[in-house]
């Protein structure tokens, strides 16, 4: 290849880069437009997403938030405000996840951390869960469970302690993901959030005085199979 050919190749690559960038940013607009959002609103969300991308925030969850608002007939100005707030929270969550050792977190992990922070978890608590998860792909469920427990009224510190203990003891993912259901069933039996948190705490479980994870059917005792329990082919 001659020097002129190399120069043409470089020129083509340089010209392609903005096109790819435009296509990527355009994907937010096209997604929002496909869902019926006005062009001005879509452009504003894209602008927020482009700004947030510089802080490692993925555009997908921001577009999802805008779509959610539009589906709920929220005024555009409020949608923009909510998306901007969510972008800021995602940037903060991404920084917390990175400082816990995951250098290139996926959008899913960042979104889960952001939702958890929205549910009241502090940045340090996010870091604790991420460190306990070890693998990046296990951080998302851990964060979601901790956030769900906190949202049920269990204090965020207690919720994080429960989740971190389950992860550090390498309990099965099924047990971890079952914790919100267990907590909910305890609530429905009249327990206060404080009591539920105590019951789920490691020392209580280890002492054998409370809710264990795993009876003969691997179902926490006292949790009835309600109408939502899958009876059909659960794993298609």
């Amino acid at each position: 290849m001659s020097g002129r050919g190399v120069r043409w190749l470089v020129l083509a690559a340089v010209l392609c880069a903005p096109a790819v960038l435009a296509a990527r940013q355009g994907s937010v607009v096209s997604r929002l437009s496909a869902r019926g959002l006005p062009a001005a609103l879509a452009r504003e969300v894209q602008r927020i997403a482009a700004d947030a991308a510089g802080q490692g925030v993925p555009p997908g969850p921001l577009a999802d938030k805008a779509i959610e608002g539009w589906a709920k007939h929220v005024p555009p100005a409020r949608i923009v405000s909510a998306v901007r707030l969510f972008a800021g929270r995602m940037a903060e969550a991404g920084a917390a996840v990175r400082s816990a050792g995951i250098q290139n977190p996926s959008g899913g992990v960042i979104a889960a951390a952001a939702e958890a922070m929205g549910g009241g978890l502090k940045a340090e608590e996010i870091r604790m869960v991420v460190r306990a998860a070890g693998a990046a792909e296990e951080a998302s469920p851990g964060l979601s469970v901790a956030a769900s427990l906190a949202a049920q009224g269990i204090g965020s510190k207690q919720a994080v302690t429960i989740v971190v203990d389950a992860m550090e003891h390498r309990r099965p993912m099924s047990q971890l993901l079952d914790l919100p259901s267990v907590a909910r069933s305890m609530h429905d039996r009249g327990m206060s959030p404080g009591e539920i948190g105590e019951r789920l705490l490691p020392h209580h479980r280890d002492a054998g005085g409370g809710e264990h994870h795993g009876d003969k059917n691997d179902r926490p005792p006292g949790v009835p199979p309600g109408p939502g329990h899958p009876s059909g082919p659960g794993h298609p």
Binding site: M1, S2, G3, V6, R7, L9, V10, C16, A17, V20, L21, S27, R31, R35, P59, G60, P61, A63, D64, K65, I67, E68, G69, A71, A82, S106, G107, G108, A111, A112, E115, G119, E138, S140, P141, S144, A147, A151, Q152, M173, S174, L177, D178, P180, S181, A183, R184, S185, D188, D218, R219, P224, G226, P227, G228, H229, P230, G234, H235, P236
Partner: protein, 218 residues
């Protein structure tokens, strides 16, 4: 020639084998001097390696094995070329390639939501979950959430006895946010969900975390 003196046509004829009697004394001297130079040059030549013929023919046979179709392209691809490239161009090319790779979409944007990522972490298992809402006065009820892309027409619920609306959905393992949509206008949280969280728009989203064993409600 080497001594700067010219050789006449007679000298060349003499060297070609013509009788020397046709030359003058000066021409003959020139011709003899030229012949001496030629001999000295020939003596300095090394003998040709006898294996050279075979090596040359082998190379010719190898080149002959290149497919005839698209001969020009093949020949260009299989022949070494000297490419004059400035290092700055190589750096620019590498930077441009890295930029393109970095900017290229890696997955559909929707595949990055938390719930789907959790499902991926759990091996993409799905579990059937039954949603129910008691709404005797409602004309229509649907469930909409992160698993429908917040579409309100994706999962209509069916009215049963005593005004209980229900639908069973296969959901990926992980966290999901949703609400019921009553009469296509009213968004209603699920009172049996694991939690209710702020949706960022002044309302509340219901949250469920679906594990491999499904969703347990009392």
């Amino acid at each position: 020639m080497t001594d700067g003196r010219a050789f006449g046509p007679g000298a060349h004829s003499y060297l070609d084998g013509k009788p020397s009697g046709e030359l003058s004394a000066e021409e003959r001297a020139s011709a003899d001097r030229l012949a001496a130079l030629i001999r000295a040059y020939a003596d300095g030549l090394k003998p040709v390696d006898p294996a050279m013929d075979e090596a040359v023919m082998a190379a010719v046979r190898r080149r002959g094995a290149v497919p005839a179709a698209g001969d020009g392209v093949w020949r260009w691809l299989l022949t070494s070329h000297r490419v004059p490239v400035r290092p700055v161009w190589v750096a620019a090319l590498a930077a441009a390639a890295a930029l393109v790779l970095w900017l290229a979409p890696r997955a559909p944007a929707g595949a990055r939501s938390g719930a789907v990522a959790v499902a991926a972490a759990a091996g993409r298992d799905t579990v059937f979950v039954r949603f129910e809402l008691v709404a005797p006065e409602a004309r229509s009820v649907a469930v909409a959430g992160s698993f429908t892309g917040w579409r309100t027409d994706a999962l209509p619920m069916v009215r049963g006895a005593a005004g209980v609306w229900s639908v069973t959905v296969a959901l990926p393992i992980g966290e999901h946010r949703y609400e019921f949509v009553v009469d296509q206008t009213r968004w209603v949280p699920d009172p049996t969900a694991h939690a209710q969280v702020d949706d960022g728009f002044g309302g509340r989203n219901s949250v469920i975390v679906v594990g491999p064993k499904g969703l347990v409600r009392s």
